[in-house]
Subunit: 226 residues, 2 copies
DNA sequence: CGATAAATCTACTCGTGGTAAATTAATACC
DNA sequence: GGTATTAATTTACCACGAGTAGATTTATCG
């Protein structure tokens, strides 16, 4: 309601002079409200988009910036934490999608479609978390998603585990496959999250075809529906 | 005088009082030095890494910030221009690599290996250009690279053009394939540019296997060397 | 009751992108 | 040839976001 330029204070809050808060007998729940801070960050990012500042996030949480810093650390730590929560949710969603076994290509199709749909569900959060140049550890964390998704997928292919056959022996192969997979998914998701025109089914179909048959399948098999 | 931390003035330069410069009769070569500014930006990014500021870039070019802005526009425009130059160079390099025709899988292998090697050659510049969340038009520009690379690749597969068979009919398919391809390449490149340990041949081999056979090839064909 | 510790907010610094105002030289006009 | 106007450049500033130091108030312990 108010906020002409920058949000400074949460709507109906008393001005809260500085100093130790009255009433609190000891440090009760110092760790506990980390989740509340992350919740507030998620809420604001959903509402306002991926461009929100730490000041506004703190305001949304009803605290000030130093509290936010004490609770979750610096900006990188915040993004890291939000990415962890988001990726965990996406992973659970994907797992649920794959509960009932299916043929391998159908598994892949569900993975791709699920990834896109789940990213679109948390669009702003997904953009916030994956923006910023995928620096250092962020990328590595997204690999948890890729790796577990790939493992899940491979487990669907064969009981013996084709994934372990390739990923288990050679660490480089595992990493390359994970990065390649997540890169393809992520870039297609980035594009699709901007284009509201294309419907998810077609995109899923095309990407699944590419990931399934690879480029060797480009000669005879068109990725479009027959 | 100036700051100890950030370079403010190029080493041996005269202080240059403000005002219109003496000697220049009219605006000669206003457009011409845009390339010189971009050269300076490239030089400094190569030297100092992808974290350089616009101030330091202007200093490297021997001009001041407003001149830089007049010459190339804002930061996004600078990145755009540098990305255009880099991708053009990479595309030329890839084209040279594919001049002598080969079997399709070998073509793909050269594409992947060439992409990685060329990115590593301009490592800092590649990171500078692809950092920043791949927002909006940057991503679209990298598609020129992906699209032309894919076209080149497809032309190698069949003379009739498998690329046209899929890309020509359905625009969505073309876009999805391009984004997926460039995403896989870029993410693997990002990882590999950090890991100095892995040699390019192995990474190329694994990624080529993934892109060629797709995930359906994971059951029987291991991506590692037989 | 007084001193110390804890917890919080205010107010600042610092760096960076971006721009307006000041400054100087060239050019046009009489 | 002298003066006003215009072009080109630098300086100095603004806005804004991340991160932190210090002021401020309350609880707790002697």
């Amino acid at each position: 309601m108010q906020r002409a330029k920058t949000v400074k204070r949460k709507h109906h809050q008393t001005p809260r002079r500085p100093g130790r808060p009255a009433g609190r007998t000891s440090n009760d729940g110092v760790i506990a409200d980390r989740e509340a801070l992350l919740d507030a960050a998620e809420r604001l990012i959903r509402k306002r988009g991926p461009q929100v500042s730490l000041d506004s996030i703190a305001a949304e949480a009803g605290v000030t910036k130093p509290i936010l810093y004490r609770g979750v650390g610096d900006r990188d730590a915040l993004v890291e934490a939000l990415a962890g929560r988001l990726f965990m949710r996406m992973l659970e969603g994907l797992t649920r999608l794959l509960e009932r076994a299916a043929v391998p290509r159908e598994i892949l199709r569900r993975l791709v479609g699920g990834y896109l749909s789940l990213a679109a569900e948390d669009r702003n959060l997904y953009l916030y978390v994956t923006a910023g140049g995928t620096s250092d550890d962020r990328l590595r964390q997204s690999l948890v998603l890729a790796d577990r998704a790939a493992r899940q997928f491979a487990d669907g292919i064969t009981a013996s585990g084709a994934y372990a056959a390739t990923h288990g022996t050679d660490g480089t192969a595992a990493t390359v496959w994970s990065y390649g997979l997540i890169g393809a998914l992520h870039y297609v998701a980035l594009w699709w999250l901007r284009e509201t025109t294309a419907e998810v089914e077609g995109v899923t179909e095309h990407l699944t075809a590419l990931l399934w048959s690879g480029l060797s399948g480009a000669q005879n098999a068109s990725p479009s529906e027959p």
